[in-house]
Amino acid sequence: MADDAPTEDAQITFNVKAANDKKHVLTLPAVTTVADLKTKLSSSEYADLPPERQRLIYSGRVLKDHDTLASTKIKDGHTIHLVKGAASNARQNPAGAGSSTAGSTPAAPQVPTNIAAGTGNNPLAGLTGARYAGFHGLPSMESFGPDGGMAGADPNQLLQMMDDPNFLQQMNEAMDNPAVIEMMQNSPMVRQNPMVAEILRNPEMRRAMFNPEMMRMQLQMQRAMNQNSGGSSFPMPGATNTTPQNPSSNTATPNAGAADPLASLLGGGAGGAGATNPFAALLGGGANPWGPPQQSTPSSGTDANTSTATGSTENAQGAQNTSQPPANPFASLLGATPTGAGGAQQSNPLAEMSRQMMQNPEMMRAAMQMMGGAGGPFGQPPADSTGSGAAAANPFAALFGPGGGFGGAGFGTPPPQDSRPPEEVYENQLRQLNEMGFYEFERNVTALRRSGGNVQAAIEFLLVG
């Protein structure tokens, strides 16, 4: 460029380090102003960023446009950091969903990384952005409670949404998008619990968790559990008539009354109502592991299922006095893989995961929280298990609750307090930490809390923090 600058001005060779780890080496005369430098950097050969959006930082200072290289005292071999300044909003969302990506860029579906300050604090903001707001109707106003959360969400509406293929497609798209996953992993609830993070990382598990079919089942279960004991326990989606005529139980139900909640579970796998019956979906099309004739109890299933099914039955009976073994949100996690592979009979990639999960109380708790209010009858009930299940446990609350309202007992609430003192809860871990030379009780406990009881992670935290 200005190579014909006065000769007494030494050329300076320096690096410009951009955010994406790109490094540009430039040699410029010392009289070059920062504005000139930005113009030079704006070319596609370098940063390809308009000068007004470039922020140059050297030595802890933001360089002003009228500064010259000499006045910034930059020397050979030094490095200037190039940072992308706040984006103008116009540049962010290619309007509409999908159709406008005709550009030459190999546009992998991308959640805007430069979320403006307003929504930046919501880990799931990307989901509410224009990209995933395509065809389906957003939940109507009435689904938001007075506090802006989803407290009053109408499960029927959500179910309806689930039936919309457009919506499903978008859900799938979102779930396959690494950026979305990353955002979820960054949400504090997930980040602080390595096990949950692990689950999110497992694509199989993830797909299962966000499988709309699964969500639908869950919603229905919650509804069933919250309803009074009269009426059908498992109304069809959208059914307004909750009289005991459960359509799914009309065929091949050995000694089970029409209103028997088990009927749909144990009833013929080939039952005509398969599609609408949540449990038919749960057990997968024809490969019903608990075949109709034996009428065996769920506990004859394979390991992972056994532990939860039986365990939760007891709990459920104790806590809510309903005898519905299948009304177990975990069943939806454990039982059906999204491929409908007939529960845990095959070597199920989820089995291992779920077994781990069962053994980790911290994890259980987190999972329960995700499941929300319906977790009442299980294990350690959250402090306020009175929350109306459908709203709180609704996975959509997390997706659609921008800003404050994650609704009821959803993501927003702190973990239910374990009433035991920390020295008891983390007795083993604390001893290990002590043996390793970490003696500060308070810090140890904090670290363990953050890591969900994982010693390794706690040590990392102690060392770094």
């Binding site: 690096n15 380090k17 955010a19 780890d21 922020r55 930082i57 050297y58 030595s59 802890g60 200072r61 933001v62 005292k73 930059i74 020397k75 071999g77 030094h78 490095t79 200037i80 950091h81 940072v83 992308k84 300044g85 706040a86 984006a87 990384t113 430069n114 979320i115 300050a117 930046g120 604090n121 880990p123 955002m183 960054n186 504090p188 923090g465």
Partner: protein, 139 residues
């Protein structure tokens, strides 16, 4: 424990690291005045952590390394206005008791450590949503 690196050597080391950009991407620091032989006054910048209100913001801080650095932590003051519990809203000074790495200062912490810690402090769940004064305002 090995030999103690004297203050000036230590600061020279940090200066080189800062100028050459060898450290973490999100922070930068350097001497306020290149002729300052005592290397006491430094500038630092922190890039706001992503997924927080600080995203895309650049915060400037002043760092003062007293004669006893690195045995005692330097004094930090924000030049850019920022709303954080550890920052005095009147003059931008960072309250050392509220930032773990300053409260439990170790000799081998550097200014970079502090900047990174402050950045992380901004990104804490309880801090990352705090309403912030308009960008570009200073104390």
């Amino acid at each position: 424990m090995g030999a103690k690196v004297p203050r000036n050597f230590r600061l020279l080391e940090e200066l080189e690291k800062g100028e050459k950009g060898l450290g973490a991407e999100a922070c930068s620091y350097g001497l306020d005045n290149g002729d300052d032989l005592l290397m006491s006054d430094w500038n630092g910048t922190i890039l706001g952590p992503p997924h927080s209100v600080h995203e895309n913001r650049i915060y400037s801080v002043k760092i003062h390394c007293g004669p006893n650095y690195p045995d005692i932590p330097p004094e930090i003051a924000f030049t850019s206005k920022i709303n954080l519990p550890c920052v005095d809203q009147r003059d931008g000074k960072v309250d050392p008791t509220k930032v773990p790495c300053l409260a439990q200062w170790k000799r081998d912490f550097t200014m970079e450590t502090i900047l990174i810690e402050l950045r992380r402090y901004m990104a804490l769940p309880q801090h990352k949503k705090l309403p912030q004064p308009p960008e570009g305002t200073t104390y």
